[in-house]
C-alpha cells in the first residue's frame, strides 16, 4: 500500500476508533445499562456518572498494563530461569549475582554515581542559575551551559574521550599536563577508582544545564518582596540565598535531584562508550548489558535489582512533584 494512504488510514482508524469507543461505550452506559428514564432515572444517572470516569481511564489502563505491568512481571518470571530459559532455578540468578565480585563493584560504583552526580549537577545548576540571573549576558551563559543537554550521551562520551585522550596532541588534559612540563601522557580513564569520577563528570556536564533551567525558573518564581524584606532585615547576599531563596525552592531542588538520580540509575551509554566497563568502572546497567543475549535470566535479574533501587526514589520524586504542582 502507498505509505501516504497507509498513514491516512492509520489516522482515520486511530482517531475514529477513539471517538467511536467513547461514543459507543457512553451510549451503552446511558441507554442500556442505566437508562435515564423510568422509575429509577435519578439513581441511574448517578450510577452511570460513577462508572463514566472508568470508561475514559480504561484504554490507558489497558495500555499501561500491557506495556508496563506485564513486562515487569514477565521479567521477574524470566529471571527465575537459567540461561537456556527452560530450567527453573528459583533465586539462583540473584544468589550468584551477590557472589560475583564484579556485580558488587558495579553496585558500589552505581552508589557512587547516585551520590555524586545528582548532588554535583544540582549544586552547579543552582550556582549557574543564581549567578546568571543578574548578568546582562546571563542568557548567553545559560544557553552555553544548557547546550550539552542536546547532545546524546554517546556523542558526549566521544567528545570527552577526546578530552581525556592519552595523547597531548589530542587530549586537553594531557595537553595541559604537557604545558606544565609533564613528559609522560596518562590515560585518566585507566586510573583505578578515580576514573569513575572522570566518567561521572561527563554526566554532570550534561545534567547541570537541566538543573539550571528548572532551578532558574524556580528562583524567578520567588516573590521579590521576600528578598527585599530580607534586605531590610539586614541579611547579606549569602544569608538571602541560603536562608530565604533556597528554602523557598526546596521542593524544586528535591524534584531536580530525584529526577537526575533516576536518570543516573539508567545511565549506561557513557560507561559503554568510554571504558566499556573495564578498569573498574562497571555499573549495573552496563553489567546487565554484558549478560544480555548470553544469559537473559541473569540480565533480567540485574534489571530487576535496578528497578528495586529506582522505585523508592521515583515514588519520592512523584510525591514531591505533585506537592510542587499544588
Amino acid at each position: 500500500m502507498n505509505p501516504m494512504v497507509q498513514g491516512l488510514v492509520t489516522i482515520i482508524v486511530g482517531v475514529g476508533g477513539c471517538v467511536g469507543y467513547f461514543y459507543f461505550a457512553n451510549m451503552v452506559l446511558d441507554r442500556v445499562l442505566y437508562p435515564a428514564s423510568g422509575p429509577n432515572a435519578g439513581a441511574n444517572i448517578n450510577k452511570a456518572n460513577r462508572i463514566r470516569p472508568w470508561l475514559f481511564l480504561l484504554p490507558a489502563i489497558v495500555a499501561l498494563g500491557l506495556y508496563l505491568v506485564y513486562p515487569v512481571i514477565g521479567s521477574f518470571y524470566r529471571s527465575l530461569f537459567d540461561r537456556s530459559g527452560f530450567n527453573f532455578i528459583g533465586l539462583g540468578n540473584y544468589s550468584s549475582l551477590i557472589a560475583d565480585g564484579e556485580f558488587r563493584m558495579s553496585l558500589r560504583n552505581n552508589l557512587l554515581w547516585i551520590l555524586v552526580v545528582p548532588a554535583a549537577s544540582t549544586f552547579f545548576g543552582l550556582l549557574a542559575a543564581q549567578l546568571t540571573d543578574r548578568l546582562s549576558w546571563g542568557n548567553i551563559a545559560k544557553s552555553l551551559i544548557f547546550m550539552p543537554m542536546a547532545i546524546s550521551f554517546v556523542g558526549a562520551s566521544l567528545i570527552w574521550k577526546f578530552v581525556y585522550a592519552n595523547n597531548p596532541d589530542i587530549g586537553l588534559i594531557n595537553a595541559l599536563r604537557a604545558l606544565l612540563g609533564a613528559d609522560q601522557a596518562v590515560d585518566v580513564l585507566q586510573i583505578p577508582f578515580w576514573n569513575n569520577f572522570f566518567l561521572m563528570f561527563i554526566l554532570i556536564w550534561i545534567q547541570t544545564g537541566f538543573a539550571m533551567v528548572i532551578l532558574s525558573a524556580a528562583l524567578r518564581g520567588i516573590p521579590e518582596e521576600t528578598v527585599e524584606a530580607a534586605v531590610l532585615d539586614g541579611a547579606n547576599p549569602f544569608q538571602i540565598f541560603f536562608k530565604i531563596k533556597v528554602p523557598q525552592i526546596m521542593g524544586t531542588i528535591v524534584v531536580v535531584w530525584t529526577t537526575i538520580t533516576i536518570l543516573v540509575l539508567k545511565i549506561f551509554d557513557i560507561v559503554y562508550a568510554t571504558t566499556g566497563g573495564n578498569f573498574g568502572t562497571q555499573i549495573l546497567p552496563s553489567y546487565m548489558m554484558a549478560y544480555m543475549f548470553r544469559d537473559d535470566g541473569r540480565a533480567t535479574a540485574v534489571a530487576f535489582v535496578i528497578m528495586i533501587i529506582v522505585l523508592p526514589v521515583m515514588i519520592w520524586n512523584i510525591v514531591q512533584a505533585r506537592k510542587e504542582m499544588r
Binding site: E225, E228, K243, P247
Partner: protein, 363 residues
Amino acid sequence: MATVKLTDVGKSYGPVEVLRDINLDVDQGELVVFVGPSGCGKSTLLRMIAGLERITAGTLEIGGQVVNDVPPSQRGIAMVFQSYALYPHMTVRDNMAFGMKIAKKPKDEINRAVENAARMLQLTPFLDRLPKALSGGQRQRVAIGRAIVRDPKVFLFDEPLSNLDAALRVATRIEIAQLKERLADSTMIYVTHDQVEAMTLASRIVVLHGGIIEQVGPPLDLYERPANTFVARFIGSPAMNLFEGKVERVGNATAVRLPGGGIVEVPLPSNGAQPGEKVSLGVRPEDLTVRPDGETIYQGQVSIVEGLGEHTLLYMDRTNDDDAVIAKMPGVQRIERGATVNLNAPPDKLHLFDERGLSYLYR
C-alpha cells in the same frame, strides 16, 4: 530625632524622570500619607526612603543624618509590604525574629520582642504557624509585627490594605490607627491610592501626581482648600465639579460669568486677575443644593438618580463635554429622572481656579 527630611529629591531611570524636586519634612510622631493615582511615583518615593531604590538627586535625612548611601538595614526603618512579603518557609515567630537573629541579638531579647509584638497584635496563638495557615488579615498583622520587632525609627507602609477584602480593610485600617496611638513617638509614612485611608489615617497628606508633590497638608485642609484642580478632584468622592467660566468683575470678591449666562459672586480676592480671564469654578457635589429658583450655578436635566438611602446622587449630563455634573443630596430625594433642576451652592463653598488650574486662594 526620628524626623525624615527630603531635600530636592529626584529619581530618574536613565533619561526618564519619575520624581523631581521632592521637598518634605516629616516630624517625629507624624503619620504622613503619600497619595496619588497609579504611576505618580508614591511607591517609588517610599522605596527610596527605605533604600530599595537609589536616590538619583537630592538628599534624604533620617534623624538628622544623611542616609542616601546608608544600606537599608541601617537606616532605622521597617517596611510593611502590600503583599505581606512573609517568608513562607518560616513560622510566624521566625518571621518576626529573622531581623534580630541576623543581627545576632541574644535569644531572650528576641523572644521578649517577638512576644510583645505578638501580644500587641493578638498573634500569640499563631506564633508557631506557617504563613500559609493564616488568613489575609492575620498575615498582614504578622508583617506589621515583623516591623514592630525591629523597633524602627520610621515605619513605612506600602499599600498595606490593598490585598484585603473590603470589610477586613476597614478593620485593619482601624488597627493601624490604634497602633499609631500606642506607638505615638514613632514616625510613619504610609502609601495608598485610597483617599479614604489617607483622610482617616493621616496627620498630613502628601498628594503626588506625575512625579511631583501637588500639595501637602492636613486632610481637612486639602479638602477645604485644595491648591489646584488636581487635588480638588482627587480628594473627595465623588470628585469636585468644575464649571468653565470667565472673570466678570474683579476686586475683593471675584464675579464669574458661567456659560449658562448666570453670574456668580465668589468671595475670593481676584489678586491681579483681569476681567475676561478663563477660570474654573469648583463645587463639591455635597455642597450643591437643588433650588426651584434664585441664582443658579447650573441648570440641567437629571439623567441618573442613585438613591443610596443615606444620600442620593444626581448625575446630570453636561451639554458642552462628556463630564457629568454630580450632586450629592442628603437622605432620600424625590427627584425623577428627566427632571430639570437648578443647582446652587453657598458662596463660601465655592472654589476658583485660574487657567493653569491653580487656586485663587494661594495666588
